[in-house]
Symmetry: C2
Subunit: 382 residues, 2 copies
């Protein structure tokens, strides 16, 4: 492992087309499981100029008016005006939904995993939320971009936006912000000078931690293309599941490839990734290691994971092999066990679909609790 280096992570606002797609997929999921918590939902969205198309496999007793949910999400995100590139009231909404394949249902009904696959969870003690610093800072910038728009602090800001933060690490710890990239969609009448001044004052400075951010030495790239009036689905086609690194750890640690949004918790891509984070976070919170990565892997239709790997990247205070045993003892790893323990059969998913699934402190994010740390510590003899 390098100890001195630059590491870059990015985030996007809720108005980014891929993120609108994620929020639509999770909005539909929430509406359905609010009525029937055992529904099977796999719901994918694609957005382009004037069109929102939703397709997928849904088996449920619920009845929901999907086009209304789609329009509501687009409205909440802020695209309510054709002159901004997309209008929730007048865009075309297409749906093509069928039931879950009976062949898959067969394997899942008996408690087996809804798909094969590999999932990772990560935690590090470099921030208080036990998340890597670069992704934490990148999310702060995009959240603030949405806030200055919604609170009308900066009237020229429009919904689509992106951020990127390069952090310098010394001796494995974040010591300095090196580079910041911010791009935001804007009204046609604002000057680049104004954009730069406003973003520095209202978005970048208030989001950066004093100790790491020296405005005179940081390299800033603010709207570096020079113009970003066309935005949202008109500037870039959006799809569900295409921001999976923004959704997780910003490129720190590994990813299994599975997307989260639109998937009910019988899909291990989602539920086992949440469990893997919960495990990793509790191990770090317990002080058993300062970094922890957990890999789980499943076979479709089979309840128990085919492999479990706990990697503490040489930061552990106890033997790595003993951690494997601790994990199997303290954490349920079957789809049913995970769903019950983390209370995932609830309409809590739309919130997760922007600004990251991890490192959040809202009460619905049960996988962020460190309620196992004490027992782990005791059991490890620390």
């Amino acid at each position: 492992m390098r100890h001195n280096y630059l590491f870059t992570s990015e985030s996007v606002t809720e108005g980014h087309p891929d993120k609108i797609a994620d929020q639509i997929s999770d909005g539909i999921l929430d509406a359905i499981i609010a009525q029937d918590k055992f529904s099977r939902v796999a719901c994918e969205t694609i957005l382009t100029t004037g069109i929102a198309f939703v397709a997928g496999e849904i088996s449920t007793k619920a009845y929901v008016e999907i086009p209304d949910i789609i329009r509501d999400v687009i409205k909440d995100v802020g695209y309510t005006d054709a002159s901004w590139g997309f209008d929730s009231n007048t865009c075309s909404v297409l749906t093509s939904i069928h039931q879950q394949s009976g062949d898959i249902a067969m394997g899942v009904d008996s408690g087996g995993a809804g798909d094969q696959g590999l999932m990772f969870g990560y935690a590090t003690n470099e921030t208080s939320e036990l998340m890597p610093m670069p992704i934490v800072l990148a999310h702060r910038l995009t959240k603030r971009l949405a806030e200055v728009r919604k609170k009308k602090i900066l009237k020229w800001v429009r919904p689509d936006g992106k951020s990127q933060v390069t952090v310098e690490y010394k001796d494995g710890k974040p010591c300095r912000v090196d580079t910041i990239v911010v791009s935001t969609q804007h009204s046609p009448d604002v000057t680049n000078k104004q954009i730069e001044k406003d973003l520095m004052e209202h978005v970048i400075r208030p989001s950066m931690p004093k100790g790491l951010y020296d405005p005179t030495s940081v390299k800033h790239h603010i709207n570096p293309t020079g113009r970003f009036v066309v935005g949202g689905p008109m500037g870039d086609t959006g799809l569900t599941g295409r921001k999976i690194i923004v959704d997780t750890y910003g490129g720190h640690g590994s990813h299994g490839g599975g997307a989260f949004s639109g998937k009910d918790p019988s899909k291990v891509d989602r539920s086992a990734s949440y469990m893997a984070r919960y495990i990793a976070k509790n191990i770090v919170a317990a002080g058993l290691a300062s970094k922890c990565e957990v890999q789980l892997a499943y076979a479709i239709g089979v309840a128990d994971p085919v492999s479990v790997l706990v990697d503490t990247k040489d930061t552990e205070k106890v033997a790595p092999e003993s951690l494997d045993k601790l994990v199997r003892k303290h954490f349920p790893l079957t789809p049913r066990g995970i769903i019950d323990h983390l209370k995932l059969r609830r309409p809590i998913f739309r919130k997760t679909a922007a600004y990251g699934h991890f490192g959040r402190n809202e009460p619905e994010f049960t996988w962020e609790k460190t309620d196992k740390a004490k027992a782990l510590r005791k059991d490890a003899g620390l």
Copy 2:
């Protein structure tokens, strides 16, 4: 880093719905850059029962009949019969394509990166292709699944399929295959017993390396749901860019989140990931390290990367800091430099869209060449 552990990777066949979407996106890209190599292409596909929908941003002088390309790809993949769940001749083909945003084009025309973002490349000397063992074995299984179908060795095999391989590592080296999962779509008339026997004999045994595979101790999960007749887009909605870990290193190392298929090489998500692999592979081939991961990061509209990180995971033979310098000296890192060096303005992409973008030995895969190894070695004083 753990030294003794199990690690799992997966692959899917060219008939998997997400992979059909990738191949359609790259099929369109190839057809367009074959006529106009400076075209800007961002082409996304979604597939569900009876529908292929393609959306995106394309600016080109070429004229191509997109619906024909879509039908051709679906036909090549093998979905030519409604009774298999999808028929290339009669499925509905929808397209909604517009030009690249003029605001983005402005930043790209001057040689800047087509988007912000982070990209990783990885290499390890654990296989001759300098790829991690689990993903190599997972691809062998899915490639062989397609082969036994196309060569009619197993007449009951249909296009959709998946594989997953769990490998045991000892002292950081692959020592044994622990678990294999294979699911393949099949005709309704074949028995599970036959499926198991045929796959063991014609797919699994011939794909596994003798030294690592002991059939009596390996756990096999063959079509574990018990039935997989419904497959392809009818069983699961497919989208471009949703198999990004199958496309890369199977979960070994990090991922920046950007997808490849459908993107012309001015998009750094693709071209810089290829360059990062080329760098990592040449460093390992040069013997400067036995594992290497490279992170590059860009700001939209800016040509030079905002950060470059070479991490040899404590396996380096030379000082890590000197590797950073070697990389900047020997490898072009601007979008233009990358495109020229790797000759990416050619219609070579459809091939990459199934069975992995890396570890391949076809001549088009210029990023797999180790032609810089000698110079690197010399310059490092080895």
